[in-house]
Protein backbone atom coordinates (compact mmCIF):
# COMPACT_ATOMS: atom_id res chain seq x y z
CA UNK A 1 0.00 0.00 0.00
CA UNK A 2 1.36 3.40 -0.95
CA UNK A 3 0.50 6.61 0.91
CA UNK A 4 -1.55 7.75 -2.09
CA UNK A 5 -3.50 4.48 -2.08
CA UNK A 6 -4.13 4.75 1.67
CA UNK A 7 -5.42 8.30 1.23
CA UNK A 8 -7.81 7.19 -1.52
CA UNK A 9 -9.02 4.25 0.54
CA UNK A 10 -9.67 6.52 3.52
CA UNK A 11 -11.64 8.91 1.30
CA UNK A 12 -13.76 6.01 0.00
CA UNK A 13 -14.40 4.72 3.51
CA UNK A 14 -15.38 8.24 4.53
CA UNK A 15 -17.75 8.45 1.57
CA UNK A 16 -19.77 5.47 2.84
CA UNK A 17 -19.89 6.98 6.34
CA UNK A 18 -20.83 10.41 4.97
CA UNK A 19 -23.74 8.87 3.10
CA UNK A 20 -24.96 7.17 6.30
CA UNK A 21 -24.56 10.36 8.31
CA UNK A 22 -26.44 12.41 5.72
CA UNK A 23 -29.35 9.94 5.60
CA UNK A 24 -29.58 9.62 9.37
CA UNK A 25 -29.49 13.41 9.75
CA UNK A 26 -32.19 13.65 7.06
CA UNK A 27 -30.06 16.12 5.13
CA UNK A 28 -30.88 15.56 1.46
CA UNK A 29 -28.30 18.12 0.27
CA UNK A 30 -25.58 16.21 2.10
CA UNK A 31 -26.88 12.93 0.64
CA UNK A 32 -26.78 14.41 -2.86
CA UNK A 33 -23.19 15.58 -2.30
CA UNK A 34 -22.12 11.92 -2.02
CA UNK A 35 -23.09 11.22 -5.66
CA UNK A 36 -22.14 12.48 -9.11
CA UNK A 37 -25.04 14.40 -10.68
CA UNK A 38 -25.42 11.67 -13.34
CA UNK A 39 -25.20 8.76 -10.87
CA UNK A 40 -27.21 5.64 -11.79
CA UNK A 41 -29.20 4.08 -8.95
CA UNK A 42 -30.89 0.71 -8.61
CA UNK A 43 -32.34 -0.30 -5.28
CA UNK A 44 -35.16 -0.01 -2.76
CA UNK A 45 -35.58 3.68 -3.55
CA UNK A 46 -36.24 3.04 -7.25
CA UNK A 47 -34.34 2.65 -10.46
CA UNK A 48 -32.85 5.30 -12.72
CA UNK A 49 -30.91 8.41 -11.84
CA UNK A 50 -29.94 9.54 -8.38
CA UNK A 51 -32.73 12.14 -8.57
CA UNK A 52 -35.33 9.36 -8.56
CA UNK A 53 -33.74 7.86 -5.46
CA UNK A 54 -33.40 11.19 -3.66
CA UNK A 55 -37.07 12.02 -4.20
CA UNK A 56 -38.07 8.63 -2.75
CA UNK A 57 -35.60 9.06 0.10
CA UNK A 58 -37.09 12.43 1.04
CA UNK A 59 -40.52 10.78 1.34
CA UNK A 60 -39.19 7.75 3.22
CA UNK A 61 -37.30 9.87 5.76
CA UNK A 62 -40.52 11.49 6.95
CA UNK A 63 -41.94 8.11 7.96
CA UNK A 64 -39.26 7.28 10.50
CA UNK A 65 -38.73 8.46 14.03
CA UNK A 66 -35.02 7.61 13.62
CA UNK A 67 -32.69 5.72 11.31
CA UNK A 68 -29.24 4.36 12.08
CA UNK A 69 -27.21 3.13 9.12
CA UNK A 70 -24.30 1.23 10.61
CA UNK A 71 -21.71 0.37 7.94
CA UNK A 72 -18.86 -2.02 8.55
CA UNK A 73 -17.32 -4.61 6.24
CA UNK A 74 -16.05 -2.97 3.10
CA UNK A 75 -14.14 -4.18 0.08
CA UNK A 76 -12.44 -1.51 -2.01
CA UNK A 77 -10.95 -2.28 -5.43
CA UNK A 78 -9.07 0.83 -6.34
CA UNK A 79 -8.18 1.91 -9.87
CA UNK A 80 -6.61 5.18 -10.95
CA UNK A 81 -9.70 7.38 -10.95
CA UNK A 82 -12.40 4.78 -10.45
CA UNK A 83 -13.05 2.34 -7.63
CA UNK A 84 -15.43 -0.53 -7.00
CA UNK A 85 -16.63 -0.37 -3.41
CA UNK A 86 -18.77 -3.06 -1.78
CA UNK A 87 -20.08 -2.05 1.64
CA UNK A 88 -22.09 -4.13 4.10
CA UNK A 89 -24.35 -2.38 6.54
CA UNK A 90 -27.20 -2.91 8.96
CA UNK A 91 -29.86 -0.23 8.64
CA UNK A 92 -32.12 0.30 11.65
CA UNK A 93 -35.42 2.11 11.09
CA UNK A 94 -37.61 3.13 13.99
CA UNK A 95 -41.21 3.81 12.96
CA UNK A 96 -43.62 5.67 15.20
CA UNK A 97 -46.16 3.37 16.83
CA UNK A 98 -47.41 4.86 20.07
CA UNK A 99 -46.27 2.93 23.14
CA UNK A 100 -44.36 0.35 21.08
CA UNK A 101 -42.61 1.82 18.05
CA UNK A 102 -41.78 -0.66 15.32
CA UNK A 103 -38.16 -1.42 14.61
CA UNK A 104 -37.23 -2.65 11.13
CA UNK A 105 -33.70 -3.94 10.70
CA UNK A 106 -32.35 -4.46 7.19
CA UNK A 107 -29.09 -6.13 6.21
CA UNK A 108 -27.92 -4.25 3.16
CA UNK A 109 -25.14 -4.29 0.63
CA UNK A 110 -24.16 -1.18 -1.32
CA UNK A 111 -22.41 -1.99 -4.60
CA UNK A 112 -20.85 1.25 -5.72
CA UNK A 113 -18.75 2.43 -8.61
CA UNK A 114 -16.98 5.51 -7.35
CA UNK A 115 -15.25 8.13 -9.43
CA UNK A 116 -12.57 10.66 -8.57
CA UNK A 117 -13.93 14.11 -9.38
CA UNK A 118 -12.55 17.63 -8.88
CA UNK A 119 -14.40 17.67 -5.55
CA UNK A 120 -13.10 14.31 -4.41
CA UNK A 121 -14.50 10.77 -4.67
CA UNK A 122 -18.19 10.47 -5.50
CA UNK A 123 -20.55 7.54 -6.06
CA UNK A 124 -21.19 7.33 -9.82
CA UNK A 125 -23.36 4.19 -9.82
CA UNK A 126 -25.04 2.41 -6.92
CA UNK A 127 -26.89 -0.90 -6.67
CA UNK A 128 -28.43 -1.68 -3.30
CA UNK A 129 -29.21 -5.27 -2.36
CA UNK A 130 -31.32 -6.20 0.64
CA UNK A 131 -29.85 -9.33 2.19
CA UNK A 132 -32.41 -9.83 4.99
CA UNK A 133 -34.90 -7.91 7.03
CA UNK A 134 -36.57 -8.29 10.37
CA UNK A 135 -39.42 -6.51 12.10
CA UNK A 136 -39.79 -6.04 15.81
CA UNK A 137 -41.06 -3.61 18.35
CA UNK A 138 -39.09 -1.28 20.56
CA UNK A 139 -40.37 -1.54 24.10
CA UNK A 140 -40.08 1.97 25.50
CA UNK A 141 -37.67 2.35 28.35
Amino acid sequence: VTIATAIDRLALRDLAARYARAVDRRDLALVRACFTPDCRYDGALGRGTIDVALTALGDAMRRYRATFHLVATQRIDLGADVADVDTYGIAHHVLPGGAAPRHRTVGVRYLDTCRRTQDGWRIAARTVRRLWERDGVVPLS
Binding site: I3, A17, A20, A66, F68, L70, V94, S141
Partner: protein, 143 residues
Protein backbone atom coordinates in the same frame (compact mmCIF):
# COMPACT_ATOMS: atom_id res chain seq x y z
CA UNK B 1 -5.71 14.75 2.70
CA UNK B 2 -1.98 14.98 3.39
CA UNK B 3 0.16 12.07 4.64
CA UNK B 4 0.31 13.79 8.06
CA UNK B 5 -3.50 13.99 8.22
CA UNK B 6 -3.71 10.34 7.21
CA UNK B 7 -1.59 9.41 10.24
CA UNK B 8 -3.69 11.62 12.53
CA UNK B 9 -6.90 10.04 11.19
CA UNK B 10 -5.49 6.57 11.83
CA UNK B 11 -4.47 7.46 15.38
CA UNK B 12 -7.85 9.01 16.15
CA UNK B 13 -9.69 5.98 14.82
CA UNK B 14 -7.44 3.77 16.89
CA UNK B 15 -8.16 5.85 20.00
CA UNK B 16 -11.94 5.73 19.64
CA UNK B 17 -11.86 2.01 18.86
CA UNK B 18 -9.56 1.36 21.83
CA UNK B 19 -12.06 3.04 24.12
CA UNK B 20 -14.82 0.70 22.91
CA UNK B 21 -12.56 -2.31 23.27
CA UNK B 22 -11.40 -1.29 26.75
CA UNK B 23 -14.87 -0.72 28.23
CA UNK B 24 -15.93 -4.21 27.10
CA UNK B 25 -12.86 -5.71 28.78
CA UNK B 26 -13.47 -3.48 31.82
CA UNK B 27 -9.91 -2.27 31.58
CA UNK B 28 -10.72 0.93 33.45
CA UNK B 29 -7.20 2.35 33.36
CA UNK B 30 -7.14 1.98 29.58
CA UNK B 31 -10.54 3.64 29.41
CA UNK B 32 -9.23 6.57 31.48
CA UNK B 33 -6.15 6.76 29.25
CA UNK B 34 -8.30 7.54 26.21
CA UNK B 35 -9.24 10.92 27.71
CA UNK B 36 -7.30 14.10 28.42
CA UNK B 37 -7.00 14.61 32.21
CA UNK B 38 -9.30 17.65 32.06
CA UNK B 39 -11.81 16.00 29.72
CA UNK B 40 -15.56 16.41 30.08
CA UNK B 41 -18.49 14.42 28.77
CA UNK B 42 -22.21 14.85 28.27
CA UNK B 43 -24.43 11.77 28.00
CA UNK B 44 -27.66 13.78 27.96
CA UNK B 45 -28.98 12.35 31.22
CA UNK B 46 -25.58 12.82 32.83
CA UNK B 47 -22.70 15.28 32.34
CA UNK B 48 -19.51 16.04 34.18
CA UNK B 49 -15.74 16.08 34.44
CA UNK B 50 -13.57 13.02 33.82
CA UNK B 51 -13.46 11.46 37.32
CA UNK B 52 -17.26 11.54 37.57
CA UNK B 53 -17.66 10.35 34.00
CA UNK B 54 -15.37 7.37 34.57
CA UNK B 55 -17.17 6.44 37.79
CA UNK B 56 -20.49 6.70 35.97
CA UNK B 57 -19.37 4.53 33.05
CA UNK B 58 -17.96 1.92 35.38
CA UNK B 59 -20.99 1.79 37.65
CA UNK B 60 -23.29 1.58 34.63
CA UNK B 61 -21.44 -1.19 32.83
CA UNK B 62 -20.58 -3.31 35.86
CA UNK B 63 -24.30 -3.96 36.31
CA UNK B 64 -24.18 -6.12 33.18
CA UNK B 65 -22.79 -9.59 32.63
CA UNK B 66 -21.38 -8.68 29.23
CA UNK B 67 -21.30 -5.61 27.01
CA UNK B 68 -20.40 -5.19 23.36
CA UNK B 69 -19.64 -1.76 21.97
CA UNK B 70 -19.74 -2.53 18.27
CA UNK B 71 -18.09 0.35 16.42
CA UNK B 72 -18.81 1.19 12.79
CA UNK B 73 -18.95 4.45 10.85
CA UNK B 74 -16.19 6.82 11.85
CA UNK B 75 -15.55 10.29 10.45
CA UNK B 76 -13.01 12.80 11.70
CA UNK B 77 -11.69 16.21 10.78
CA UNK B 78 -8.27 17.33 11.88
CA UNK B 79 -7.26 20.96 12.23
CA UNK B 80 -3.77 21.33 13.60
CA UNK B 81 -3.73 20.01 17.15
CA UNK B 82 -7.51 19.73 17.46
CA UNK B 83 -9.96 17.38 15.82
CA UNK B 84 -13.61 16.41 15.84
CA UNK B 85 -14.94 12.91 15.26
CA UNK B 86 -18.29 11.21 14.93
CA UNK B 87 -18.42 7.47 15.56
CA UNK B 88 -21.39 5.12 15.34
CA UNK B 89 -21.68 2.35 17.89
CA UNK B 90 -24.32 -0.29 18.49
CA UNK B 91 -23.97 -1.14 22.17
CA UNK B 92 -25.43 -4.38 23.48
CA UNK B 93 -25.62 -4.85 27.24
CA UNK B 94 -26.71 -8.16 28.74
CA UNK B 95 -27.44 -9.07 32.33
CA UNK B 96 -28.26 -12.68 33.18
CA UNK B 97 -30.17 -13.19 36.41
CA UNK B 98 -32.41 -15.96 37.69
CA UNK B 99 -32.89 -17.70 34.34
CA UNK B 100 -33.68 -14.58 32.33
CA UNK B 101 -31.48 -12.28 30.32
CA UNK B 102 -32.14 -8.56 30.32
CA UNK B 103 -30.79 -7.07 27.13
CA UNK B 104 -30.42 -3.36 26.47
CA UNK B 105 -29.37 -2.29 22.99
CA UNK B 106 -28.39 1.32 22.46
CA UNK B 107 -27.66 2.83 19.04
CA UNK B 108 -25.54 5.88 19.65
CA UNK B 109 -23.02 8.26 18.18
CA UNK B 110 -19.94 9.46 20.01
CA UNK B 111 -19.38 13.11 19.10
CA UNK B 112 -15.83 13.82 20.20
CA UNK B 113 -13.57 16.83 20.40
CA UNK B 114 -10.01 15.61 20.47
CA UNK B 115 -6.70 17.20 21.38
CA UNK B 116 -3.17 16.31 20.39
CA UNK B 117 -1.13 15.90 23.58
CA UNK B 118 2.49 14.94 24.20
CA UNK B 119 1.29 11.34 24.54
CA UNK B 120 -0.81 11.37 21.36
CA UNK B 121 -4.46 12.15 20.60
CA UNK B 122 -6.90 12.16 23.52
CA UNK B 123 -10.63 12.77 23.88
CA UNK B 124 -11.12 16.29 25.30
CA UNK B 125 -14.91 16.29 25.27
CA UNK B 126 -17.45 13.64 24.40
CA UNK B 127 -21.11 14.13 23.64
CA UNK B 128 -23.15 10.96 23.42
CA UNK B 129 -26.16 11.15 21.11
CA UNK B 130 -28.54 8.22 21.50
CA UNK B 131 -30.56 7.53 18.34
CA UNK B 132 -32.68 4.78 19.84
CA UNK B 133 -32.62 2.11 22.52
CA UNK B 134 -34.36 -1.16 22.94
CA UNK B 135 -34.96 -3.27 26.03
CA UNK B 136 -36.07 -6.85 26.15
CA UNK B 137 -36.05 -9.85 28.44
CA UNK B 138 -35.54 -13.36 27.13
CA UNK B 139 -35.13 -16.74 28.79
CA UNK B 140 -31.49 -17.59 29.30
CA UNK B 141 -30.30 -19.95 26.56
CA UNK B 142 -29.26 -23.34 27.88
CA UNK B 143 -25.62 -24.13 27.23
Amino acid sequence: VTPAELLDREEIRDLVTRYAHAVDRRAWEEVAGCFAPDATADYGYFAGALPDVLAHIRAGLEGFTTTMHFVGNHLAEVQGDAATAETYALCIHRAARGGTVREVTVALRYLDRLARTAGGWRIAHRDVAVDFDERRETPEASA
